[in-house]
């Protein structure tokens, strides 16, 4: 009987959250953007021939936006709009995969570290201190340079840089929850540690992580595009937004559209995730609902 009640409560909670979610216009807007780019990432190579990124047509180069090329053409005569459509797959997938991996690693390590405390906590935190002591972009750059320029190495470098942040925030959350009365009460009732961690501390500490992860997808997208912008992304002929911006930087005053539209794509895609993350924070944190 008690179980059914709990389940009913959960269902109510979720549908209430969804209702709050759908009421927030910015969140709906963000979701639409994310759905749009996700569809683009999936069907992009079907509606645009992927081979166009390797075709050079110099007679068509540096054409300003027109009815024929809505976003203009780049210095190799390729249509910017088509390149943006093709680039969606790379930028979307690398951000999602990096954040997912980094979150899983960071949450596991951070919650163990924060809850167990003592020597293990000290060692793990010193280790993340060492990793965090390196400026993220330089560290990722050094790693990508050392490992060699490829998509997999870009993913490895970004994940290695990103997980420590989750570990520290999770640890901080667990530490602050640990001090709270309800955990102390659970402890004094003799409930085993791992149960307290999973049943009581975790659900309360996971909200900021979930919000952060959603917003970090946008952040990772910016970093991936940034690394690609300074020349550490995939190969130059693979369509990717950061690389296109880099191409446009050389023609900034002559053909600003080359860097403008791909940048707009990075901005809006990242904004979509951040809008959702921001709305999630309001919905998931019951203290902010009042």
């Amino acid at each position: 009987m008690k179980k059914v009640n709990e389940w009913e409560l959960k269902k109510k909670e979720i549908s209430y959250a969804l209702w709050l979610f759908s009421k927030n216009k910015l969140v709906v807007f963000g979701s639409l953007i994310v759905v749009f780019y996700t569809i683009l990432a999936i069907i992009g190579p079907l509606i645009v021939d992927p081979r166009i990124s390797e075709q050079v047509n110099l007679s068509n180069a540096l054409k300003p936006p027109s009815s024929q090329h809505i976003f203009g053409t780049d210095d190799l005569g390729r249509d910017i709009l088509q390149l943006i459509v093709l680039g969606a797959r790379f930028d979307m997938s690398i951000s999602l995969v990096v954040v997912l991996t980094a979150t899983l690693i960071g949450v596991a390590i951070g919650s163990i570290s924060g809850y167990i405390g003592g020597k293990i906590d000290e060692i793990i935190m010193r280790f993340t201190d060492i990793l965090l002591a390196f400026p993220g972009l330089i560290f990722a750059m050094g790693l990508t340079m050392a490992l060699g320029r490829s998509t997999v190495n870009l993913f490895l470098a970004l994940t290695l840089v990103w997980w420590t942040g989750y570990a520290r925030i999770m640890r901080g959350q667990v530490l602050s929850e640990k001090e709270k009365l309800y955990v102390q009460a659970a402890k004094s009732l003799g409930i085993p540690d791992f149960l307290i961690l999973f049943k009581h501390v975790f659900p309360n500490a996971i909200y900021p992580i979930l919000v952060l992860a959603t917003m970090d997808i946008g952040g990772v997208m910016l970093s991936a595009a940034g690394l690609s912008f300074i020349g550490l992304g995939p190969s130059p002929f693979e369509p990717e937004w950061g690389q296109l911006i880099n191409r446009g930087a050389s023609y900034l005053f002559m053909a600003p559209w080359i860097m403008f539209f791909p940048g707009l794509a990075v901005l809006t895609a990242s904004l979509g995730f951040n809008l959702i993350g921001d709305g999630l924070r309001d919905v998931l944190d019951p203290r902010l609902r009042r």
Partner: protein, 343 residues
């Protein structure tokens, strides 16, 4: 435990971190990157290479090399910088102040805009001001900094000139022609400050015009972070019992907000500002290279192009030390502001 005891303990705790950092950078500079690269070109005769290796101590076992590495690190003997055409220590002494200056200007802009926006958002919760500032800060967080830099450069150095209005300088830290006629003695290395000390207002305003675009570029993304943090922690604090109590006690709204709420709401903002400073002092690689602003980020971008491992590793070690120190300071301020934290 007293706060200063905590500080001393934390300083001691830094030792393993710093050693860990040096071990990692040693590994990166000696194993992953080629330590010979700075001293050898294609035209170096092959028979000289063993001698160069011997001179650099590369023929010794790794633990001896590490001790040499530590000794060189402490004595500022960081080798030759291909990217800076001088010794690495000189290059850092030359370029670091520019980054410090850029960091200060950018953080001042960030806080001046971010904190008031956050307070307004919290006080006008869910009203039009709140939604506007929310959208603005989310756009800031989502902004690709290199794209923003390029766009600002296009707008304020090219487009406004085409329109015949004004033009901000697009690259560099000062106008060299102006500098020749209005020389500034180097005192602190912060160009604006040095010019002001010497009463050289021409150079001060020129340096300011040069720094404003990169500073805004860097501030733009941090403003969003500060605004959201101020808002959310302000909202959280305003719901606390002691605020309700202060209100019901009849204290004026102004005092409740600025004296009781803001001070506590600032704790997360202090932390994140500290981390921002730590990150910015490490050098904003993309922003500095777009605006050719001769700071640490610009130097390291050039070092990457030149495959200049000496400069890269010195830069990595230095920014790591800065970050660790800033972290320590942030934690101390945190402990001082929030007595509930156990140390």
């Amino acid at each position: 435990m007293k706060l200063y005891e905590y500080a001393v303990r934390r300083l001691f705790m830094l030792v393993p971190v710093v050693l860990g950092v040096t071990i990692l950078t040693f590994y990166l500079s000696r194993v992953v990157l080629d330590p010979l690269a700075a001293y050898v070109t294609e035209r170096t005769p092959a028979y000289l290479i063993p001698a160069i290796r011997r001179q650099l101590g590369l023929d010794k076992p790794f633990y001896i090399q590490y001790i040499y590495y530590l000794r060189d690190l402490i004595t500022l003997n960081w080798g030759w910088s291909k990217a800076g055409h001088m010794s690495v220590a000189d290059a850092i002494a030359t370029f670091f102040p520019a980054t410090v200056e850029l960091t200060i200007v950018s953080i001042v802009i960030t806080l001046l805009i971010g904190i008031p926006l956050g307070i307004i958002s919290a006080l006008r919760n869910n009203k039009i001001e709140d939604h506007a500032s929310r959208l603005f800060s989310l756009v800031g967080i989502s902004m690709p900094v290199f794209w923003l830099g390029l766009s600002l450069q296009y707008l304020f150095t090219y487009w406004t000139r085409v329109q015949g209005w004004f033009a901000l300088p697009s690259t560099g830290r000062y106008d060299p022609i102006l500098f020749a006629s209005h020389p500034v003695q180097r005192i602190t290395g912060l160009l604006i400050l040095d010019s002001l000390i010497q009463g050289n207002f021409v150079m001060a305003s020129d340096a300011f015009l040069h720094i404003i675009l990169p500073a805004i570029t860097l501030a733009f993304l941090n403003i969003g972070v500060v605004t959201r943090l101020t808002r959310s922690s302000m909202l959280e604090v305003l719901r606390q019992d002691y605020i309700t109590f202060a209100k019901s006690y009849g204290l004026p709204q102004r005092i409740v907000i600025y004296k009781y709420a803001l001070k506590n709401a600032m704790i997360p903002v202090v932390t994140s500002t500290g981390l921002m400073i730590g990150g910015l002092l490490g050098g904003a690689i993309m922003t500095e290279s777009i605006f050719a602003f001769p700071g640490m980020g610009w130097l390291s971008y050039r070092a990457i192009i030149f495959n200049d491992s000496n400069t890269i590793m010195a830069y990595v070690v230095l920014s790591a030390f800065i970050f660790v120190l800033v972290n320590l300071i942030v934690d101390l301020i945190y402990a001082w502001l929030d007595p509930r934290i156990k140390y």
